[in-house]
């Protein structure tokens, strides 16, 4: 017999994890829009967001809001550092997309190994932001952390839209993504925009990490699976479209949850990715169409 409460719970579960995939996907889009680079170190930013917050909470006993804010700033600065010492030299030499991907993958591994050396291999977690029992609507439970994830994601989407459409810097970044040479001729500091895009993308990754770690754990090696899910979200949504990436993440999260509902978790990724592949066959440019 069809269990409506269970089905509704499945949708809520899918939505919650989908928002995280979407946030990570947005990080891919921000850098891609400013530079045309696909940054595979995005998962490392997610891991670092949760890990640095954990370290600050447990060693300095800072309040969550302070620890999280410091973590976001540190990861954003790390994003700029990576842009300066890894990406920029390659970018200036007109390295191909494949070289860039390899370089960012190498960065991911370096960050993973460094984290392993510094904090060890054991799983770590941080407390939920609001430690209350979940809200119950009918037979559906909605945890407060889920509300935090969905709420912060929506606020970030709105802020990003405002940033890219209304602010001079945001429009300059978009101009760089459309035509780097033309943007430079217009006096836009293209290299500074690249650094800014890395900072923004890293900060978004860190926020995703801080939001999701209370619902699971973080460890030196959790970044890669998140990077893969975020990358899929970005492609399904239409690569380069931040809001599309968010929708793509939700589509992936829902598809996975519904696959467990209908087929069992052994086939979760097979079923979810098959559905998304079929969707991409029908609409190769993704939900919103790829950015130009």
């Amino acid at each position: 017999m069809f269990d409506l409460a269970y089905f509704s719970q499945t949708l809520v579960n899918g939505l919650s994890v989908g928002c995280i995939y979407g946030l990570i996907g947005i990080g891919f889009c921000v850098i891609y829009n400013a530079s045309g680079i696909v940054n595979f170190a995005q998962g490392a930013f997610v891991m670092l967001g949760g890990m640095i917050t954990y370290v600050l909470l447990t060693t300095l006993h800072l309040p969550m809001i302070v620890a999280g804010s410091i973590a976001i700033i540190v990861v954003a600065l790390l994003g700029v550092l990576i842009e300066r010492i890894v990406v920029r030299p390659l970018w200036d030499r007109n390295a191909t997309m494949f070289v860039m991907i390899l370089a960012t993958l190498a960065v991911q591994i370096v960050i993973e190994r460094t984290t392993l050396i510094l904090v060890g291999d054991q799983p770590k977690s941080i407390p939920v932001f609001t430690d209350l029992p979940p809200i119950r609507i009918g037979g559906v439970s909605i945890g407060y952390q889920t509300l935090w994830i969905i709420g912060v994601s929506l606020v970030l989407i709105a802020l990003l839209a405002l940033f890219f459409q209304k602010t001079l810097v945001g429009r300059a970044m978009r101009a760089c993504s459309i035509n780097r040479e033309a943007a430079a001729l217009q006096g836009i500091p293209v290299s500074r925009m690249l650094a800014l895009s890395f900072a923004l993308s890293a900060a978004l990754g860190a926020i995703a990490g801080i939001l999701l770690t209370p619902t699971q754990f973080t460890a030196f090696n959790v970044g890669t699976p998140f990077a893969i899910s975020g990358f899929i979200a970005a492609i399904v949504g239409g690569f380069g479209r931040p809001f599309g990436a968010f929708l793509g993440g939700i589509a992936l999260g829902l598809a996975q949850a519904l696959a467990v509902f209908g087929l069992g978790s052994g086939l979760k990724n097979v079923a979810a990715l098959s559905v998304l592949l079929i969707f991409l066959f029908l609409r190769p440019s993704g939900i919103l169409g790829a950015a130009k």
């Binding site: 579960n13 291999d121 054991q122 799983p123 945890g143 699971q216 090696n221 699976p225 978790s265 979760k268």
Partner: protein
């Protein structure tokens, strides 16, 4: 003339160096370790590696094995069978190891077993035994039979609770699959029903869909079969969903149990090994053996979980006993001797090997426990 003399001296030195190296190589007993130092098995296999290092240091400080110093050669298989094949081949071909004392990545040990068997090198394993009889001949497992972990949890549910429906959540590793099959088949013996069996990937970010499914099917307990941080994620998801479900974890590291216990409190129970409840153990041979290892471990690792490291200690101690019994370092003779070792007290229990039993632990050494105030408490 001068040139000839210089060449002559150089040749003599090179010959002497080669002779010395050969002599030293003869005096070293090489142990190969294929371990998942990264990947899903990292927490356990790093402890296994670290436990071996403590054991080797101890053995070498006592003069080695029959006069030979022990040398560890550790390779990271990244918790992947393909990588395991590569590192096993390297340790056989290049390092010429005498024995393997390898970690818990079952699939990796299975993948390498055919050519390790051909090389006639004994394998002392943290994992379950490979499936083929000719490979089992060369492999010895220090892991307790998977049914013990299942039975410990079912017995608790039957004797101490009214819960009669259990969801099984397992990872895809051979060991977890074996436990899952046992859990499904043996449930009825305890008056328990398993309405849902779900598999997960070790890097899954969320188990809410699986937990919701189990809850919808009436399962009031989740038997989680698998290692690593995923247990913590399951605990957090149960709390997020506001379920009153019991979470029954597998044998794992205390570093996983502590945060899971903090998250779920008395709803989280787990299978605990003797070394994890040392203070609560009655006096006897088991406590004595753990007490031999524990100070050495704590001197290096502080309050880190000693269980898996203790298993590695056991594996080396059984190896030494076999070498001394065989009076030989040769693989076939050591293999034959391991089969004669029984009633051997280790930190993980009593090992009883024989020609037909290569999984040494034959009596259930486990307890069901929970975390109270950051400390393990036996239920």
């Amino acid at each position: 003339m001068k040139t000839v003399r210089v060449l002559s001296i150089a040749t003599s030195l090179a010959a002497a160096a080669a002779f010395t190296t050969a002599a030293q190589a003869q005096e070293v007993y090489k142990i190969g370790v294929s371990a998942g130092l990264t990947g899903y098995a990292a927490a356990v296999d790093r402890a296994w590696r670290d436990g071996l290092e403590v054991a080797v240091e101890y053995v070498n400080s006592k003069g080695g094995i029959m006069g030979r110093k022990v040398q560890l050669i550790v390779e990271d298989n990244k918790s992947e069978p393909q990588e395991a094949v590569t590192v096993y081949r390297k340790m056989i071909g290049s390092d010429k190891v005498d024995i393997f004392i390898s970690g818990c990545v079952s699939a990796g040990n299975f993948a390498a077993a055919p050519f390790v068997t051909r090389a006639q090198i004994p394998m002392m394993l943290c994992s379950i035994l490979p499936p083929q009889p000719d490979q089992v001949k060369w492999a010895f497992s220090f892991l307790a039979p998977p049914r013990f972990e299942v039975e410990t949890r079912y017995a608790y549910l039957k004797d101490k609770t009214q819960i009669r429906k259990v969801g099984v959540l397992h990872d895809p590793s051979p060991y977890a699959n074996l436990q899952k099959d046992i859990a499904v088949k043996s449930a009825a013996n305890f008056g328990i029903e398993v309405p849902v069996v779900e598999q997960y990937k070790t890097d899954d970010a969320d188990f809410s869909p699986q937990l919701s499914k189990m809850n919808a099917a009436g399962a009031k307990a989740v038997m989680k079969i698998g290692l690593g941080g995923s247990t913590l994620t399951v605990a957090k998801n149960i709390k997020q969903l506001g379920q009153d479900t019991l979470l029954l974890g597998s044998v794992d590291d205390l570093a996983v149990f502590k945060p899971a216990g903090e998250t779920l409190g008395p709803q989280f129970l787990f299978v605990a090994a003797p070394a994890q409840i040392y203070d609560a153990l009655p006096d006897g041979a088991l406590k004595q053996e753990i007490g031999r290892f524990l100070p050495l471990w704590r001197a290096k690792q502080g309050d880190r979980d000693p269980f898996w490291a203790g298993k590695a200690w056991d594996a080396l101690m059984v190896t030494i006993a076999a070498i001394e019994r065989a009076k030989s370092f040769e693989g076939p003779k050591v293999r034959d001797a391991v089969e004669t070792i029984s009633a051997f007290q280790g930190t993980g229990g009593v090992y009883n090997f024989s020609p037909t039993v290569h999984q040494g632990i034959t009596e259930n050494p486990f307890f069901l426990a929970t975390m109270v105030g950051g400390k393990v408490q036996v239920k």
